[in-house]
Symmetry: C2
Subunit: 345 residues, 2 copies
């Protein structure tokens, strides 16, 4: 069933049927009712592509996720982020088109998205420090919004970010206030902007308390459970082990916990753990008393905000790019406690 058939069926012109369905005023109420009723009865819905061609808008937003050939790890936050974004898209009648692109042909992919004109805007995931995609997109005249930021470029693009630096600075300071001096940090890959900023926060807090950062206590890599387990196991077996660990994700923290338990250490007493909690739906950190003390910020909520902001920009391209920086909560859980007294001191 298409517009032509429907209009012939109703003995009306395509114009009138189209206007009736799209809510234009110049249609008699009774006519509109007839049209709508017939459309429903015959399950008519306008062909997306034809409509898009006619209006010049595709009613869809692209999400481009870089997939490193070397790493091949899809950040698990992505699912929840998309869930949040979808809420906004559904509400606005937009579709979400997803591309996972190997990071070597990112540029070509963005250019083609622009040229082929099949999205009205796009969301950039996983920005890196000095990410070359930013200037590329700025040239492309396709509205875009970055989830995160890219240190190294002037911040004259649209973004939504969590204050990673501040969050990790606070978390570290909290550990210091509990008396910890040997604080390990298991971070994501530090080419990624969020990890870079977290590192800065960690170092700033140490510096503020005149604690010398120890390279042996700092690890960065793909945020897997085993990264947490293996790296911290190594540290615990070395002389002068950490009394606290800062983890960049709950998945890492679970690994750290495993390493601790394997050595008979009690988390929260012998070893403190603070993690960042993205509030992933399948890794709840406890309702009443959280398992992990954590900096918390819902990535799902971030998805929703990103989508809303981008949609706003698409609808209304003028003006300065929207920017939002949210703070993470620092929530207290059972995984932290005062630094243990040194045995030999």
């Amino acid at each position: 069933m298409n517009l032509k058939e429907l209009s012939e069926l109703l003995n009306l012109s395509q114009t009138t049927v189209s206007r009736a369905l799209n809510g234009y005023p110049e249609v008699r109420d009774e006519t509109r009712r007839r049209v709508i009723e017939a459309a429903e009865r015959h399950n008519y819905m306008p062909n997306t592509r034809a409509k898009g061609l006619a209006t010049g808008r595709s009613m869809s937003i692209g999400h481009v996720i870089p997939l490193s050939k070397k790493h091949e790890i899809l950040n698990p936050i992505f699912g929840d982020f998309i869930t949040g974004a979808s809420e906004a898209y559904v509400a606005a009648g937009y579709d979400l088109v997803l591309s996972l692109v190997p990071d070597d042909d990112q540029a070509a992919h963005y250019r083609s998205l622009g040229a082929k004109n099949n999205v009205d805007g796009l969301i950039l995931h996983g920005p890196m420090v000095n990410d070359s995609r930013i200037p590329l997109l700025q040239d492309l005249d396709l509205p875009f919004l970055v989830h995160g930021r890219a240190s190294g470029w002037p911040e004259d693009y649209a973004y939504f970010d969590m204050n990673n630096r501040r969050a990790f600075e606070r978390a570290t300071r909290h550990l210091i206030e509990l008396g910890h001096r040997r604080i390990a940090f298991v971070n994501g890959r530090e080419e990624m902007d969020f990890a870079h900023r977290r590192r800065l926060g960690y170092e700033a807090a140490l510096a503020a308390s005149a604690i010398e950062p120890d390279p042996w206590l700092m690890v960065s890599g793909d945020m897997t459970e085993s990264l947490g387990a293996e790296s911290v196991a190594r540290m615990l077996d070395a002389p002068d082990p950490p009394t606290a660990v800062l983890a960049s994700s709950i998945v890492i923290a679970l690994g750290v916990e495993r390493a601790a338990r394997a050595r008979g250490l009690t988390v929260g007493r012998d070893l403190s753990i603070i993690t960042h909690d993205d509030e992933l739906s399948y890794l709840p950190n406890g309702r009443d008393e959280p398992l992990f003390t954590a900096t918390r910020s819902s990535v799902r909520e971030a998805g929703r905000r990103c989508a809303e902001m981008l949609l706003g920009r698409v609808a209304n391209p003028g003006g300065p790019p929207p920017q939002e920086l949210v703070e993470a909560d620092l929530i207290l859980g059972r995984s932290t406690g005062p630094a243990p007294k040194k045995d030999s001191a």
Copy 2:
């Protein structure tokens, strides 16, 4: 830059330019070269919507993910599944459009996907027992493929599934052969078809060894870490606790491990754990000697196969629906061992 402009630039008709770019034979080699070179230089790519309108194909595949209003949990396997599927789509020049749909208006959504004609085919995620979406899609004349199956309907639709029943039967049998009799099962929601089948496999193995299934040892719910931790904690504190646990996902298994350790039990000695391992990229189960004994089947690979099969069906709609059932490997890790001798026996 569009076709018209490009053709004027080249002093050729739109026809010739189009044919040159699409590889039709009736274009002189030198002309084709000229066209291709000009297209590249001006970064011309055909407008997706116009092309789609003209050809009647949208070059995109829909993935519809049901999102239960009550549960709001996005299965974490989804990210890796999509990663695999994307590989196939990218290779074939297809886009992936994603919808997360609240499960109450699934029907409307599918119907609209069909009517609006904006995907050439779709993949159905998370089939339930007796899933009403199957007959609905069969009426819709839109090629589709189910990731999983829907018990209760005749299997006359295209699907790709892992043999959940067999995998969990083997896993359970393995535990029985190790001497376990009290075997707990922490499963996903059993309205879901995969969980339903896993339950059948578990029960079949028990029955084959004449072990009476104990409802106290069987739990089903959203597959979160805390489901594993809390339900098994409860079982361990009850009289006649389990000596082994079968978990439906690694996330659950991590929770089970936490519960065990919290009680001072050593996993693999005091409590055996077998889990299903989807090979999620950020939860690697160890390379050399896996952490968990597990039934293993790559969900990423499943994504790739699903996409390939569906693309085949889209290109070639005739014939019987493609169906594939793969077996999971049973891999031995450190989380299982012989049943401990009973203290009081």
